[in-house]
Amino acid sequence: MANLVIAEHDHGSLKSATLNVISAAVAIGGDVHVLVAGENASAAAAAAAQVAGVSKVLLADGAAHAKLLTENAALQVVAVAAGYSHILAPATAYGKSVAPRVAALLDKAQISDIIKVVDADTFQRPIYAGNAYATVKSSDSVKVLTVRGTAFGAAAATGGSATVESVTAVADSGLSSFVSAELTKSERPELTAAKIIVSGGRGLGSGEKYRELLTPLADKLNAAMGASRAAVDAGFVPNDYQVGQTGKIVAPDLYIAVGISGAIQHLAGMKDSKVIVAINKDPDAPIFGVADYGLVGDLFELVPQLTAEL
């Protein structure tokens, strides 16, 4: 058995989600190889070679991978796929775009968002916004999986000493091209890897209030900042803040939900947090049904008080 992990990276370093996928591959058993498809990505490949549990890194370095276009990434995976029993990617925007393409090209099913490895053919995954967990068994010879990062601990970033092997990079498919990116710049921890998250909802009323109240709180806690769909739809914060069924799935040690009512779609994204605090003026808000500590009252008074106490 051999596992191929599709690394998510920015050419210079690995994205943290890759470390969780490596843990899932280790749980399956057998060799763990990592594919880094990038341009001038030897630093990312070197980082992958350091990760505990990895025995080989395949580096496909070429212009077709400069912008991490998913059509090219999928072709690259297929080009090196022979001999692997499991192909794994993070359940991130990148991984979710690449893995189904790979599976279809190989004529295999894909299993999304696995949260548990039962055995080499059998995996557990959430369905219906996490309101049920399905255990599914694959009859395919190759399993193509995406991995929910919060369900697997991160592999140690050091301690490994894998070899790095260069493989021929595929040519550009010509199907799509990169135009521009508008990425949120932040000094804060990444939302999906943060230990503490301060998250705001529609109850904050505006983007100004979101920032005025939550930024000082997040600063004190060195927390990442998140939001409910309602807050993103209302334009308080950019889309990449969204936590929920179709946004980001998070499981920090502490999740502070401010002015979030707790729709099931939001709960799906954060209910595996270790400790949940909810601050909301409505004592019947569903968020209190999952919160360890609930504080009922006016968030415009309570949040500054909390910030001052820290």
Partner: protein
């Protein structure tokens, strides 16, 4: 240019499903069914492109039980011109759906296929990407803005770090994210009109597609219950709990 929009009939997003006592699945008997919300956004986007003169015809397609006809009528009430049902009672998995859709694409030759990024029942998020791979087309997943000009679509995508804009050579696949548009309500006259629109019925065998599932669901369970905790009186009490009980700060 034709636009093909696959739509899925799912448990309504307001329904909290229950797991069956025998762990065989979730109980969807007597539960309200609706069009998957992301599919509704896809139909709306296609109809807007037709209204702008970019597309000439919007074809809705669904695969599954005969009841999916309701979903297709709904798509036509929003504005799709005609519909195709691929009728089967076999449990369809994303790869099988992608193969069925490829057969329809081969026949209809659309310039664009717009799909929802994921269905809110199985949360798979696969079909668009799989269809794109089977066709050898480009893909833009998680679209929040679409502009079509000539044989190019420029699509802004919601990615983990923010937004990314890519350009696709048509024909191509687009999957919709939440903020692409706000679907219109189907008006009563349009619901009436939709009843008269063409709805074809085909079977997977007519399309020469093997839809045998590759995955077997062994069991479906309730997730571990999270018990609601306590309400604290004030900020001082909360601080005390976080420091001394939960020990997270």
């Amino acid at each position: 240019m034709k636009i093909l929009v696959p739509v899925k009939r799912v448990v309504d997003y307001n329904v909290k499903v229950r797991v069956k006592a025998d762990s065989s699945g979730v109980d969807i008997a007597n539960v309200k069914m609706s069009m998957n919300p992301f599919c509704e956004i896809a139909i709306e986007e296609a109809v807007r492109l037709r209204e702008k003169g970019v597309a000439t015809e919007v074809i809705a397609v669904s695969a599954g039980l005969l009841q999916c006809q309701e979903t297709l009528r709904n798509a036509m009430a929003i504005g799709a011109d005609r519909a195709i049902l691929i009728e089967t009672d076999v449990e369809l998995q994303p790869l099988a759906v992608a193969k069925l859709l490829k057969a329809i694409v081969d026949k209809e030759q659309p310039g664009l296929v717009i799909l929802g990024k994921q269905a809110i029942d199985d949360d798979a998020n696969q079909t668009g990407q799989m269809l794109s791979a089977l066709l050898g087309w480009g893909q833009a997943t998680f679209a929040s803005k679409v502009e079509v000009s000539g044989d190019t679509a420029t699509v802004t995508r919601e990615v983990d770090g923010g937004l990314e804009t890519i350009s696709l050579k048509l024909p191509a696949i687009i999957t919709t994210d939440l903020r692409l548009n706000e679907p219109r309500y189907a008006t009563l006259p349009n619901i009436m009109k939709a009843k008269k629109k063409q709805l074809d019925n085909v079977k997977p065998a007519d399309l020469g597609v093997d839809v045998t599932p590759r995955l077997t669901t062994l069991k479906v369970e309730e997730p571990p219950k999270r018990r609601g905790g306590v309400k604290v009186a004030d900020v001082a009490a909360l601080m005390d709990k976080l420091k001394n009980e939960a020990k997270v700060i």
